[in-house]
């Protein structure tokens, strides 16, 4: 391995035959299935491929091919990381992303076969070392892709957290907040603030907080609910808490949480009926006035 490494033809081929290699490679990638669904533009693919071949050509000029963690591979690795990030955003799968690198093998081997027609042993050595190199680089894209997905998922969770707390306007001045899922600090904070803001925006008289979808009501959740009710009251709106299932009611009693100041109803429908009655009365009064 070491003896052939010194006279490897790879740098020569990558650099001397770059235009042809680029053309073949881009052609291969364009005919692959993943490009038919138009995740990225052809011009962008061409440019990425050109830049990668350029970086690869530079790196192989400067040292050996066995370990991409070495510093002469920095630029190539960074470039691939950028490709990986943009593809993760464009909706490529990890496989499709790694294929960017792996798909270079075929046109490259084809060129090598032509160049080393008369030296089968050298050809095998070349193919082996290039395979090892491209496999490392391909795996590198997958690793970066993975890290990126995690970041994206985290961001999406944050966004979802806000999206998944829709305050709905049930009636002229009646809001409903159907809570679903675990009410733990971060999300609860967002939810409650959203409700209070919406009370201001819509000038609501009654807000129904429905906890049918909340699996556990412990003292922290109860405290959040109580605080929200108090804050809403300061802004002139009454809250009704609905969706208190029997097992939750029992548990709240055992915990010793005092909900006597809060209007509670078993179902959202019951709560809505009460809310209508109350606001209906005030609407009628306003009309008389």
């Amino acid at each position: 391995m070491m003896s052939t490494l010194g006279k490897t033809r790879f740098p020569d081929i990558v650099n001397r035959c770059q235009p042809q290699l680029l053309a073949d490679w881009v052609q291969n990638q364009l005919s692959a299935a993943s490009f038919n669904n138009g995740l990225m533009r052809e011009s962008e693919l061409r440019e990425q491929s050109r830049q990668f071949l350029h970086a690869l050509g530079e790196a192989v000029e400067h040292g050996d091919l066995t370990d991409i963690e070495e510093s002469h591979w920095d630029e190539t690795r960074e470039f691939l990381a950028a490709v990986s990030r943009s593809r993760a955003l464009q909706g490529f799968t990890p496989n499709q992303t790694a294929m960017f690198v792996f798909s270079l093998k075929q046109p490259l081997f084809q060129l090598l076969r032509q160049e080393l027609e008369k030296q089968p042993e050298a050809l095998i050595d070349e193919i082996l070392s290039i395979t090892r190199l491209l496999d490392q680089l391909g795996l590198h894209t997958t690793e970066i892709y993975q890290k990126n997905r995690e970041e994206i998922i985290y961001q999406q969770q944050q966004e979802l957290m806000e999206l998944s707390t829709p305050v709905v306007q049930l009636w002229q001045n009646i809001l409903a907040l159907p809570l679903i899922g675990t009410l733990d600090s971060a999300r609860t904070q967002v939810v409650m603030e959203t409700l209070l803001q919406k009370i201001v925006d819509t000038n609501a008289a009654i807000a129904i907080i429905d906890i049918t979808g909340v699996p556990t009501v412990d003292t922290l959740v109860a405290q959040h609910l109580l605080k929200t009710v108090a804050a809403a009251r300061l802004m002139g709106a009454d809250c009704i808490i609905s969706g208190i299932r029997p097992q939750i009611a029992l548990t709240i009693v055992h915990l010793g949480v005092d909900l006597t100041d809060v209007i509670t109803k078993a179902t959202l429908a019951d709560a809505f009926a009460i809310a209508l009655q109350r606001t209906g009365a005030s609407v009628a009064a306003a009309e008389r006035a």
């Binding site: 675990t182 733990d184 600090s185 971060a186 699996p215 556990t216 009501v217 412990d218 003292t219 922290l220 109860a222 405290q223 029997p246 097992q247 939750i248 029992l250 548990t251 055992h254 915990l255 010793g256 949480v257």
Partner: protein, 140 residues
């Protein structure tokens, strides 16, 4: 004779861990044949103690044990931390007492929601709270 049919320790470091422990307790309680009310009581008590472990104990862990005694089935949870400990346990248990900004109902609530409740704590030596609940109708 009482036997432990299953035993597992879970870490309690963050708010996410509290959620995970709640889910685990729910699953274990279901597996032990707890009714919905019993599951809810045990999960809620666990939630209170898990949060105390994270908030006041500086993190720790919980040991889950599925208990079998004849045909009786129960669930025992032991919350441990190496935090500052509780100087006055009676005061900490008093409804409405909080050294933080809670409702001060967690310890008392957990005691009322379970069949057996014990606190072992020394100032500077950490805290251990053990709760046990049996399937409804077995022991009150």
């Amino acid at each position: 004779m009482m036997t432990v049919s299953r035993r597992e320790t879970r870490a309690l470091r963050s708010s996410d861990d509290v959620v995970r422990v709640r889910q685990a307790v729910r699953q274990w309680a279901m597996a032990q044949g707890f009714s919905l009310v019993d599951q809810t009581k045990m999960v809620t008590a666990a939630s209170e103690l898990a949060r105390n472990t994270v908030d006041y104990g500086g993190g720790g862990n919980v040991l889950l044990e599925a208990l079998n005694e004849g045909s009786r089935r129960g669930l025992k949870l032991t919350f441990s931390d190496q935090g500052p400990g509780i100087a006055d346990i009676e005061l900490a248990l008093r409804d409405g007492y909080t050294s933080g900004s809670g409702l001060g109902l967690g310890l008392g609530g957990a005691r009322r929601l379970t069949n057996e409740f014990a606190i072992d704590s020394t100032p500077g030596g950490g805290t251990r709270v053990t709760i046990t609940r049996w399937q409804c109708g077995d022991r009150r």
